[in-house]
Amino acid sequence: MDQLNYKEQQEFQKIVEQKQMNDFMRLYTNLVDRCFNDCVNDFTSSKLSGREETCLNKCAEKFLKHSERVGSRFQEQNQMLMNQMRGNN
């Protein structure tokens, strides 16, 4: 956001910090949603089975790695788009 002046950047920073907390919570909720949905389907017991636990662990790790990868690719693509737009102006 190099178009904002110094004071505006400070204000924006505050807004973003609040939003990042929300974004993080949403990522976490989606993670639990996906992994619970994929790994836990047997309700003959109220405790998680060993298999379900293993599945949840692997799922969480995999999902986070996936999100990270998508994040960096997204960043790259976005940067390319921004540069193109700047070039056209």
Partner: protein, 109 residues
């Protein structure tokens, strides 16, 4: 949108609430787009059985291509929306529905 943000700062010490709001809207748009890409590309590229905690080669390649294609799709749809003149007025029916339901009497007709 960038037209407004690209204007040089007239005064470096005052906060322009409009500019700040625009920056916030841009941030929100980016964050929600990212959320959708993450969700879609994990559905399309990561199968439901978790044999290992790492992304394998196929999943990683699929993810890279998925993000790339998503961005291209986004641009194509953006162009269609722009050409068609899609704007807030296209959401009017939603406003109407919201009003009807919030007032506690869904439309009978």
């Amino acid at each position: 949108m960038s037209f407004f943000l690209n204007q040089p700062a007239l005064s470096s010490s005052s906060v322009d609430p409009v500019k700040l709001k625009l920056a916030e809207i841009q941030y929100d748009a980016l964050a929600s787009t990212l959320e959708v890409v993450q969700k879609q590309c994990s559905i399309k590229c990561v199968p439901l059985d978790y044999g290992e905690p790492d992304l394998n080669k196929g999943e990683a390649t699929c993810t890279d291509r998925c993000v790339s294609k998503f961005m291209m799709a986004n641009r194509i749809i953006g162009a269609v929306a722009q050409q068609r003149g899609l704007d807030e007025r296209d959401l009017r029916h939603i406003e109407q529905i919201k009003r009807d339901y919030l007032s506690g009497r869904p439309e009978d007709s």
